[in-house]
């Protein structure tokens, strides 16, 4: 009797443990998948696009060499598949961008990106449903026309993302500077030098902010005429962002030296 009640409790404990482990596992699964879903989806769509691109060019070459009805039909099929894969890849990319950049940017900053995302999704669905060649040509032209502006929105979002990330670091750095400045008043030796370094920290932070503004101006004021214009502006903005990073590293270096003096006391 005693033995059976013991085994009954053991069974209950085993069931309880199993349910606990399963519950934990099930709780973790969505967390993992949510974080990785957009990354994985994008990488898969990129592979599909590369494969469709290769197949389209092979089919095109085969048609140009043989000029038969059969190769022409294959070319049309491959062209449709390629166009759909391209649209799908861009949709997936914008989804990834919204997820990742959304961690730093406000809704207002993401409006343009979200609009392009909706437009691309509709456009890709239309490509998928189109049967007439004329409609297909119109849709391809629309993507060609819109892509340069789309590119500008992408690079503007990337610029804002880097600025937001660096600004977060600046806020932490300023808090540290403020606290260290109070502590410095207790140090007698090197007081003037440390005070000078604190001024340098502020100056480097201001320089980083100036470069942020310049990077934004580069991206906002660029005139887009063709594909690639936004990329050139992004490269210039990128230089500004690298300069901001350099200033922040220097400011961090000054703070490190000040901390070493504080720690010596």
């Amino acid at each position: 009797m005693r033995k059976s009640s013991l085994s009954f409790f053991m069974k209950r404990a085993t069931i309880g443990k199993t349910v606990f482990v399963l519950g934990l596992f099930l709780l973790l699964v969505p967390v993992f998948f949510k974080a990785r879903a957009s990354d994985v989806d994008y990488l898969v769509k990129r592979d599909l696009y590369v494969s469709a691109h290769k197949d389209y060019f092979s089919a095109r070459q085969a048609y140009l060499n043989q000029r038969t009805l059969q190769t022409k039909e294959v070319l049309k099929t491959e062209l449709r598949r390629f166009s759909f894969a391209r649209g799908d890849l861009l949709v997936s990319y914008f989804d990834l961008l919204i997820t990742k950049a959304g961690q730093y940017l406000t809704e207002e900053d993401l409006v343009e990106i979200k609009n392009w995302f909706s437009w691309l999704r509709t456009h890709t669905q239309m490509i998928d449903q189109t049967t007439r060649l004329e409609d297909f040509l119109i849709l391809s032209d629309q993507l060609n026309e819109n892509y340069p502006q789309m590119e500008k929105s992408i690079y503007l979002a990337l610029t804002k993302t880097t600025i937001a990330e660096q600004s977060q670091v600046i806020r932490e750095m300023e808090a540290l500077r403020f606290e260290v400045a109070e502590k410095v008043s207790t140090i007698v030796e090197d007081k003037n030098m440390v005070a000078h370094w604190l001024v340098e920290v502020s100056s480097k932070i201001s320089l980083a902010r100036f470069n942020h503004e310049e990077a934004l101006i580069e991206m906002k004021e660029v005139k887009i005429r063709r594909k690639g214009d936004a990329l050139k502006a992004w490269q210039r903005a990128g230089e500004r962002l690298l300069m901001a990073e350099k200033s922040l590293k220097e400011a961090l270096g000054f703070l490190d030296e000040i901390l070493k003096r504080v720690e010596e006391k």
Binding site: L22, R60, K72, V169, D256, E263
Partner: protein, 127 residues
């Protein structure tokens, strides 16, 4: 003529066979249950191990030297002076800023747009 009357010994044999046949089934069930349990524990450990590694990875690169700074600068891993709570707090804030800055991909390479072919030859002679 073949005798069709049921024989008692046959039915006993059948029963015995049935009883003996059930035992291995139970054993197999237990074995499978243990297997599932082990797999669950392994999956659980793997998931937490991955999470732990991801968290540790954030602090593994502390010993790097900050480049491009004319001043000195080898970040001190431990305070050089008396290890007061206040100093530790400053240093941990400093590392937080340092790791934050180091973790930024200024050129956002992973988020750069994919290179897609836009100029497709759609002329009538190709289509």
């Amino acid at each position: 003529m073949r005798d069709r009357t049921p024989v008692e010994t046959d039915s006993v044999q059948v029963m015995e066979n049935t009883v003996f046949a059930e035992k291995p089934t139970k054993k197999r069930f237990k074995f499978k249950f243990k297997k599932v349990w082990i797999i669950l524990v392994l999956v659980f450990l793997f998931v937490f191990g991955a999470l732990l590694l991801a968290l540790l990875n954030l602090n593994l690169e502390k010993e790097d030297v900050i480049p491009e700074i004319g001043l000195v600068l080898t970040p001190t891993l431990k305070p050089t002076g008396p290890d007061s709570d206040e100093n530790s707090q400053f240093r941990s804030l400093w590392y937080s800023v340092y790791n934050g800055l180091k973790g930024i991909d200024v050129k956002q390479e992973f988020l750069s747009p994919p290179v897609v072919e836009l100029d497709i030859d759609l002329s009538p002679e190709v289509l």
